[in-house]
């Protein structure tokens, strides 16, 4: 025999046994990480959820593996009796034990590497303080401690399930030693910093790993050694045990009981070790939670973890005890009703869980019964019952699906976390109602009942998996239903308009440079300097002028120009040029009319260029700003002396700009199309803004994705309306359309039409239009589109 080949083949076999675990854990982990780090959950309030989920997942993956590897490689083989065959091979027991441990350790290293890679990716992308929140190294060390401990327990226990249960108290041992050390130190007047806890824990874990390794090898060698009847049956040599055993034997000869009683007896006896262990875990969890307010602080999360694991394993045991060795076929062969079998499997675990919930609630709330009302208690009871039912139901579903009790016991808690994560995700992202999500917990229960006949008959064919897949789809897709209903109920942008806008958006913009925001020039003290500064900015930056320039630059400039025009009519002799500050610091009141005229021309030329540059913008807000600038220019042109003051050339330029309705309409259409395109690509700062405006119909608080969909649809409809409106020709629009647009874009209805009382009325008649002052100025979407001022402007030509 070639020993090396034998060991290699043995290692291959062990690896094959571990592969389901090595695949299942990272896949489920990846799903949980994907859910936990998705948009919006990773920010704000979601931070705590994310950190908690990831702490569990990233550290739990190697930990779960380490706890289960021994049960899978040793316990499962013991139950299948393949270890008996293995030890009949010409290899030493030390080789069998060593190969199992080495392969399991290699698997742990792989999962460590994956956990670190996941952790790095998450820390870099979503949760930067991940490593501050999670004692990562300590948790990885925990896995190193659990691995040999799991092996030792698996060699020691007859049942793999019991060895898995025992790993829980063994896992807590280092924490207990650490706490005792801390308490001892504190009693002697020495206090440790909280950071020192981990410095204390890590050596403890490494020491425990060495002890575990020794125990695993020693117990393994003992198990694989030739059997000694004395060793196997030591309990029977104990007289008391013999008496007890004799008493038990008589149990089988009592009167025949009804089928349900017999089935309950069978379930309880078959799983008594697991049921007792789980009950102890639940009791320990209640104790930990009840004393959680006291030191040490780790008791509360520890209590929750214990309660979670115990609930999950109670779910697993519902079907796993009967699945082992296909025992359930015994009942199937005798035609026992699947319904009876199903509910007799549920009764005892449900009773244990119900009793635990009641005890926990009484324990927590009894000191506060005087202060707390029934209305406050009911939600607590309901949410506890839901959480417990969900974990229990998902776990029993996993227990029915998996043939291996080890995989079921390890997979069920992870799948439960995944299911819980999906529920949280659905609530946060789709805005699904909590009641609906909670009601989905019943699906695994219904499913296990529906499948109980096939499970009993061991008929795991295509239809079995088809139903499972359908149920899984139901669980996955039902939370999306409210979102989908909203999406499909919401009217969509007409296809024709979408295509027109798509074509328009593909057209090249006249000005593709970035938007510029004009400033008044901090160092400019005189009007000339200010005008020069603005001109320089316009020459140096070729981009469209942003609407944000209106308030602090364009409107003051318009005011200055108006004053310049007015000053041309005023006598200037009385003005003392030596006043301090000099009067032309505003540049308005100067003795020389020629200078004033020149400055007026310059100001109007700048305003004209600003309007032209605003028209080149791909956002609709600049089109509205340009409208306001052009309305002001139109009003300026209506004054008698302006044409002379501007001179023929500049006057003609202004008139050409104002009279070109077609170019204005085209610019608006371009802006709508590009704003829509940019909105869809989220280039303008997310879903809340469109074309530079905050969209008032933005939906929030109904789930991140639902908000996005609804907002998208609403904006799409409003944009389609704008497109139709702008393409409507020169005739005045009807009031219904104006009101609709106003309501879609959040414009006060009174602002439309030509009512002078409106806050920002439509400029149907420029001569009576009250151009807003700087304080009252506010742009409103499409407010001046197709208003009367455009026809007046066209008439200028």
């Amino acid at each position: 025999m070639n020993t090396q080949v034998a060991i290699a083949h043995l290692a291959w076999k062990e690896l094959r046994q571990l592969i389901p675990l090595l695949i299942m854990l990272p896949i489920i982990t990846l799903l949980i990480v994907a859910i936990a780090t998705s948009r919006d959950l990773a920010g704000g309030q979601g931070q705590r959820i994310v950190a908690t989920a990831l702490a569990f997942v990233l550290s739990g993956m190697p930990g779960l593996y380490a706890a289960g590897a021994g049960a899978l490689l040793v316990g499962f083989e013991k139950e299948q009796r393949t270890l008996d065959w293995l030890r009949s091979l010409p290899i030493t027991s030390l080789q069998i034990i060593g190969v199992k441990l080495a392969v399991a350790l290699a698997g742990l290293l792989v999962l460590w590497a994956l956990a670190i890679a996941f952790g790095q990716a998450v820390a870099q992308s979503a949760v930067p303080d991940l490593y501050e929140r999670i004692p990562f190294v300590g948790l990885l060390n925990y896995a190193l401690y659990l691995l040999p401990a799991g092996f030792a327990l698996a060699w020691w226990c007859r049942s793999a399930a019991v060895s898995l249960l025992l790993i829980v108290p063994v896992a807590m041992l280092p924490l207990l030693v650490m706490q005792l050390t801390i308490l001892t130190l504190e009693k002697s007047g020495k206090f440790l910093l909280s950071q020192s806890y981990y410095q204390l824990l890590n050596p403890l874990l490494l020491f425990g790993a060495v002890i575990g390794l020794f125990a695993a090898v020693s117990l393994g060698r003992r198990y694989l050694a030739p059997q000694s009847p004395h060793r196997e049956r030591w309990l029977t040599h104990w007289p008391t045990w013999q008496r007890y055993a004799a008493g038990r034997r008589r149990l089988g000869y009592g009167p025949v009981v009804p089928p349900t009683s017999a089935l309950l007896w069978q379930f309880a006896n078959q799983n008594r070790a697991v049921l007792c262990g789980v009950s102890l875990l639940l009791a320990a969890s209640i104790l930990a939670l009840a004393t959680g307010a006291l030191d040490p602080p780790g008791l509360v999360p520890g209590g929750f973890l214990l309660a979670f694991l115990a609930t999950s394993w109670l779910g697993v045991v519902v079907f796993q005890g009967d699945s082992a060795h296909e025992r359930i076929r015994f009942l199937a062969d005798r035609g026992i009703s699947p319904a009876t079998v199903w509910w007799t499997r549920q009764l005892i675990p449900s009773a244990i869980l119900s009793a635990t919930i009641v005890v926990a609630i009484v324990a927590f709330l009894s000191p506060k019964f005087q202060e707390i009302s029934l209305a406050q208690i009911i939600p607590i009871v309901m949410s506890s019952a839901f959480a417990v039912t969900a974990v229990y139901a998902v776990s029993q579903w996993v227990g029915q699906l998996f043939d291996s009790p080890i995989l079921a016991a390890l997979g069920a808690p992870v799948v439960s976390v995944l299911a819980f994560g999906w529920g949280v995700y659905a609530v946060e992202m789709f805005g699904t109602g909590i009641i609906l999500v909670a009601s989905l917990a019943i699906i695994p229960l219904i499913l296990t009942r529906l499948m109980s006949r096939r499970w009993m008959d061991r008929r795991f064919g295509a239809s079995f998996w088809g139903v499972q897949a359908a149920a899984l789809s139901l669980v996955v897709f039902t939370p999306m239903v409210p979102l989908m209903v909203d999406v499909f109920r919401q009217p969509r942008m007409p296809r024709e308009i979408a295509l027109q806008m798509e074509a328009a958006a593909r057209a090249r913009l006249p000005n593709e440079s970035p938007l510029i925001e004009l400033t008044a020039g901090e160092s400019s003290t005189t009007l000339d300097q200010r005008l020069r500064s603005i001109q320089t900015q316009l020459e140096e930056s070729p981009g469209p002028v942003s609407a944000s320039s209106m308030q602090h630059l364009v409107l003051p400039l318009q005011g200055t120009a108006t004053l310049l025009r007015l000053s041309l009519k005023q006598p200037t002799e009385s003005i003392d040029a030596d006043q301090d500050p000099p009067p032309d610091s505003l540049g308005i009141v100067v003795p020389d009319p020629e200078v004033t005229s020149e400055r007026y021309r310059q100001a109007l030329e700048i305003v004209l260029r600003v309007a032209q540059r605003m028209r080149q913008s791909p956002r609709i807000i600049e089109q509205d700003a340009a409208d306001m600038v052009e309305i002001w220019l139109l009003q300026e042109l209506s004054h008698d002396t302006v044409q002379d003051t501007l001179g023929e050339s500049l006057y003609r330029q202004v008139v050409d700009q104002l009279a070109d309705t077609a170019a204005r309409t085209e610019a608006r259409k371009q802006a709508i199309a590009h704003s829509w395109s940019r909105f869809q690509n989220e280039r303008d700062g997310g879903m809340r803004t469109f074309g530079g405006y905050d969209f008032p119909g933005h939906v929030h608080g109904r789930g991140y994705l639902r908000d996005r969909w609804l907002t998208h649809h609403r904006i799409g409809l409003a944009v389609a309306q704008l497109w139709t409106f702008v393409s409507g020709g020169p005739q005045p629009p009807d009031n219904t359309t104006l009101t609709l647009i106003a309501s879609q874009w959040g414009n006060a209805t009174g602002r439309n039409g030509s009512k002078r009382s409106a806050a920002n009325p439509r400029a149907d008649d420029p001569s009576t239009y009250p151009y807003p002052s700087n304080q009252r100025f506010r742009l409103s979407t499409a407010n001046q589109w197709r208003a009367g001022w455009e026809r007046h402007a066209a008439d200028l030509k």
Binding site: R249, G252, V256, L263, W265, R327, F330, I336, R459
Partner: protein
């Protein structure tokens, strides 16, 4: 191929054109069968012939791809649970709660049957000499088989379906058990026995069905088979001598050439038919005797092409 039996009103099992297909494999191909009440019906076939598939279809553990079957007048597709309650079934690898003691499993199972179940069970366990206080997991293979048999028989079912029941039993218990089957049949019960132990089947079976590659090659009463199936040894002066074709319903089930002798298993051949062979030039002599069930079974499984080197020469017979 065997002719389907004519339907009888008292049939406990009635199968009509039953097919069961798995991906890449047709386990049963349009099988017809009638099992009369009060008989021991033996189901024979090599490994993978479809015996267990047929039993699983009859007990509702498997849904047929096509065709119908009825057990005790019930459709297994609809009334599987009622069928299972009324029959006794011992699977090839019986599932038992191995953590229970022998006595406990009887007490537990008694909850699902009539009142006298436990007494009968205890009688049988005592008869089989299985210790009642021993856990099932600590029993030998044979003892487990005895427990499984006792559990299947204790409610005195109308139909007993046994899939390799005697595997692991010692010869004495096996003999006793098989003889007890005859007692059951005498009281109007029916036994469907699937087995490889042909010699034992031959001792107790009333009717025999041989399943080969998903089809029944033979379904007939044992007495009839003994009368009609014979082994014919033809001595030839030259192995290349061709034998004349025998007219229907004579069926040559197997044909082997051993030197200058051809050994054929023939069904339905009379002395007149054999005379045709005797009269053939080159035939030195023809001897005949009744075939054993073992020989018939082998003939069904091997067919005419079993001995390839001689089969091509045997093709000259072109019988059946």
């Amino acid at each position: 191929m065997a002719e389907p039996m004519s339907p009888k009103p008292e049939s406990v099992i009635a199968i009509d054109r039953l097919s069961v297909s798995f991906p890449g494999c047709d386990a049963l191909r349009e099988v017809d069968l009638q099992v009369p009440r009060g008989t021991v019906f033996a189901l024979l076939g090599e490994n993978g012939a479809g015996k267990t598939t047929l039993i699983r279809a009859l007990t509702g553990f498997l849904r047929p791809s096509s065709g119908t079957c009825r057990v005790l007048g019930l459709d297994p597709d609809v009334d599987a649970l009622r069928i299972r309650q009324r029959i006794g079934y011992v699977a090839d690898a019986p599932a038992l709660y191995d953590w229970m003691r022998v006595g406990e499993i009887g007490w537990f199972t008694a909850a699902f049957y009539k009142d006298d179940f436990l007494d009968r069970y205890r009688e049988m366990i005592a008869h089989y000499e299985v210790p009642e206080d021993r856990k099932i997991r600590n029993l030998s293979k044979g003892q487990r088989a005895k427990v499984a048999l006792a559990l299947a028989l204790a409610h005195d079912p109308d139909l007993l379906i046994l899939d390799e029941p005697t595997s692991g039993l010692d010869p004495l218990v096996r003999r006793e058990f098989l003889e007890s089957m005859l007692d059951r049949v005498a009281t109007g019960r029916t036994v469907l026995l699937s087995s490889h132990q042909i010699a034992e089947v031959e001792r107790v079976a009333d009717t025999v069905a041989i399943l080969h590659q998903g089809r029944f090659r033979v379904v007939d009463s044992l007495a009839n088979l003994r009368e009609t199936v014979s082994e014919v040894t033809v001595s030839l002066d030259d192995p290349l001598v061709q034998l004349p074709l025998l007219p229907p319903p004579v069926e040559v089930m197997s044909d082997q050439l051993e030197g200058r002798q051809r050994r054929l298993i023939v069904r339905g051949a009379s002395e007149e038919h054999l005379q045709l062979w005797r009269a053939r030039p080159g035939v030195i002599g023809v001897r005949t005797r009744s075939a054993t069930l073992d020989e018939l079974f082998a003939a069904c499984i091997r067919g005419r092409g079993a001995n390839k080197t001689t089969a091509s020469e045997g093709e000259v017979a072109e019988v059946a």
